[in-house]
């Protein structure tokens, strides 16, 4: 019987998807919030770094850390090896800090948060009131948050940290999580309240000097989320962060740090949207995950930044460094990403499999339509013995888009008896787009094995005709076929995100046929 119920739920989700798609236009999150903002002066220098640190009321050590990163960054050059074409970014022509005026005095609870901000998240469907979460949100637009609302109405709960431009607006369910010993708060708060944890782990996975964008982030990150799950604790609910870029000409540089102590479990979701703007906006985030002995972290992203218009005007430049360190034995991490937005995506969520028998998984859907360019993939660095990794990548290109999978699998000499399996499938819609697969494989011991499979296919006319003969219009047919192509990855997502992800897949491809 459970199988049937499961089936019904899945069918329900699929169905909802199609309905959601039908009720939506192209980019639904493109509206902006009119709100008074405090900006740091345009441009980047040591004073700006100091200002950000001061706005966050940081201790001296944090400022020093940032300055060190900044001094490093000015000696570095932007990497150019990715298959991405974009005009020179003027780093002095950006705001590095933008905060709603109403957030100047930190609200003590969500009740004190500016109603305009709350309304923004409500419109996005992100439940920010705990009672609302319990009751389920009624009448919310179909949007990223609706899944959470549905999850909530079914009795599953999701704690949310909401980041608006440079600051965290609020975090739900903090008290209840605290009872379980879980710390879930903004990173700025963690720096103030839990300096011992932050000092110990910040930069321990992605060092300040890691790469151009990560170093920039280390200097100017303004907020982000912090999670600590203590020994042996299974986090009682899903955690999530919802990023919203609102201000114009403002970069968003968030930093997320997740620590799963020995034997703990946590599932974390990340969502992001931005208004339609004619100019490109910079987003350079860093996510660090530390996984200790026997702990498990599942990190899911639905990236839906504004992709720009059909001619490639506007859209987010997304340069993200995400890395998990399975530091001890049997640690496990699973990255799942659905990348549909951004004009440029440069992102390689990676796993360092240091502990013996540790495991890393990477499931990815990357969709590029119109003028979008995506260069994304993963790195699996096998350092420990008997380590396992699995990569499933589904790239979909439509319009004039370019989509590149770039992956690295390394088996170090000590990583004996380790295994990697990589499957990399590309789907092309139309004949003006491109799909590229760039796998790097290094095996430095004799007992480990790496398997790589890759396919490239086109959306099949016979499949589309079959669907249309049964009554679906062309877009619905494409959505169905593409969702089928992505099924394996969609199934790796938590239920809370599955529906959103499916509808996004369809929406991102609108106008790609006919």
């Amino acid at each position: 019987m459970t199988a049937t119920i499961d089936l019904e739920v899945r069918e329900g989700v699929d169905r909802e998807t199609v309905e959601t798609v039908q009720s939506m236009g192209s980019y639904k999150y493109g509206w902006d919030t009119e709100i008074e903002m405090d900006y740091a002066p345009k441009g980047l220098n040591e004073d700006i770094v100091r200002l950000i640190s001061q706005k966050n009321e940081e201790p001296e050590w944090m400022l020093e850390w940032r300055l060190e990163a900044y001094r490093r960054w000015i000696t570095m050059t932007e990497p150019k090896w990715a298959m991405l074409n974009y005009p020179e970014i003027d780093y002095q022509d950006q705001y590095y800090y933008a905060r709603p005026k109403s957030m100047e005095v930190k609200p003590k609870s969500l009740d004190e948060v500016d109603p305009k901000l709350l309304a923004t998240y409500e419109k996005l469907g992100i439940p920010l009131k705990e009672q609302m979460i319990l009751a389920g949100v009624e009448g919310a637009l179909p949007s990223p948050g609706v899944d959470m609302a549905i999850a909530a109405s079914e009795g599953r709960r999701v704690a949310v940290d909401a980041v608006f431009d440079s600051v965290s607006v609020g975090t739900t369910f903090k008290d209840e999580l605290a009872k379980a010993g879980v710390i879930f708060c903004s990173i700025s708060e963690a720096i103030r309240e839990h300096p011992e944890l932050v000092k110990k782990y910040l930069g321990s996975v992605v060092p300040q000097s890691d790469n151009y964008f990560a170093t920039l982030n280390s200097a100017v990150f303004s907020d982000g989320s912090f999670v600590y799950v203590p020994k042996g604790v299974k986090c009682p609910m899903e955690l999530s962060t919802y990023f919203r870029i609102n201000a114009e000409n403002t970069g968003q540089f968030e930093r997320t740090l997740i620590i799963a102590d020995k034997g703990s479990h946590v599932s974390y979701l990340e969502g992001c949207t931005a208004p339609k703007r004619d100019t490109h906006q910079l987003h350079a985030a860093v996510v660090e995950i530390v996984v200790l002995e026997d702990a498990e972290v599942k990190y899911s992203t639905v990236q839906n930044w504004y992709p720009g218009d059909e001619e490639g005007k506007g859209g987010i430049y997304n340069f993200v460094t995400k890395r998990a360190d399975c530091r001890e034995a049997r640690a496990k991490v699973m990255w799942t990403q659905v990348e549909t937005g951004s004009a440029i995506t440069w992102k390689y969520p990676s796993c360092i499999l240091r502990g013996d028998e540790s495991q890393g998984e990477f499931y990815s859907i990357a969709i590029a339509n119109n003028m979008q360019q995506a260069d994304t993939g993963t790195k699996m660095i096998h350092l420990g013995r008997n380590t396992r990794s699995r990569i499933v990548s589904k790239g979909i290109s439509a319009g004039k888009a370019q989509n590149t999978y770039r992956g690295l699998v390394t088996m170090h000499p000590r990583a004996t008896n380790s295994r990697n399996y990589t499957q990399c499938d590309s789907l092309l819609i139309g004949d003006q787009c491109g799909a590229h697969t760039v796998p790097y494989i290094e095996v430095k011991n004799t007992s480990s094995r790496v398997e790589h499979e890759a396919t490239t296919s086109k959306v099949d006319d016979d499949q589309l005709f079959y669907c249309r003969q049964r009554g679906m219009d062309e877009e619905e047919a494409v959505a169905l076929v593409v969702n089928g192509f992505c099924r394996e990855v969609l199934q790796a997502l938590p239920m809370e995100f599955a529906m959103e992800a499916q509808s996004l897949v369809a929406i991102s491809l609108e106008g790609s046929v006919g």
Binding site: F465, R470, D473, L480, G484
Partner: protein
């Protein structure tokens, strides 16, 4: 119901005429069978009627209840009640059979301005119809036609037909590759759907099917045309004598 008049069809890509003045009329409630040698254009006819790309109609017309089919998109024809059970059903990896069915049923209902089926009603209906065709719940869950045996694919086509309740059903060699029991299941399924306001066009090579599904008229098609029409006895004649004499007689 279905009226085809002097239909001429060539391939879009090359200069090859496939249908050469085909005329056919199927009144409501009737079952017509088409038999004919390989390559005579039977599948082409079914594709042109349902709107597949790649063909060009150079002359003639085809109407469903007086409405010209040839100007409509495939999905509009489907919602108008035209259904094609494919000679080679298509596989769609990753898409659950049930999802596919429900999306199709509701797309058509929506196009006709009817309320969509609730998930409860849909499930009840699909389970009952699947059971009649001995399609297991497990098969409903699997991706559309992927890894289905030939016979399973054909039964799945009939399940779709039963769920969509089309008014004009075209079945292209649905009996090919069916075992004896499956043939009975499929025929029973079709017979259950027979009604005064539903018509069938059954393309087949074997008179065997027509023992189960009694046709009102049998047409012989050759070289892009109907060359002879008659009663069920025509199918028997084909079975016994082959096409030789029939075609010679028709010139």
């Amino acid at each position: 119901m279905l009226k085809i008049d002097n239909l001429h069809v060539k391939l879009e890509e090359e200069d090859k005429q496939i249908l050469k003045g085909l005329s056919l009329e199927i009144p409501a409630g009737q079952v017509h069978a088409i038999m004919g040698p390989n390559g005579s254009g039977k599948s082409t006819l079914s594709y042109v009627l349902s709107g597949r790309d790649g063909y060009e109609v150079t002359e003639g017309s085809a109407t469903l209840d007086g409405q010209s089919l040839l100007d409509m998109e495939p999905e509009q024809r489907a919602s108008a009640g035209l259904f094609l059970a494919f000679q080679y059903p298509v596989e769609i990896p990753g898409v659950g059979n049930m999802t596919f069915l429900r999306t199709a049923v509701n797309a058509q209902r929506k196009a006709r301005g009817e309320a969509e089926l609730s998930s409860g009603d849909f499930l009840k209906l699909v389970r009952a119809k699947a059971a009649e065709l001995q399609i297991s719940p497990e098969m409903l869950k699997r991706p559309v036609n992927v890894g289905f045996s030939g016979g399973e694919k054909k039964r799945n086509e009939i399940l779709q037909m039963a769920m969509l309740e089309p008014r004009m059903c075209i079945m292209d060699e649905t009996d090919s590759g069916l075992d004896v029991d499956a043939m009975r299941l499929v025929s029973d399924g079709v017979n259950a759907l027979r009604s005064p306001d539903r018509s069938f066009l059954v393309i087949t090579h074997y008179q065997r099917l027509l023992n189960h599904i009694q046709p009102d008229v049998v047409h012989i098609m050759a070289n892009g045309r109907i060359v002879k029409s008659g009663g069920p006895e025509l199918a028997l004649q084909v079975e016994e004598e082959g096409y030789g004499d029939l075609l010679a007689e028709a010139g």
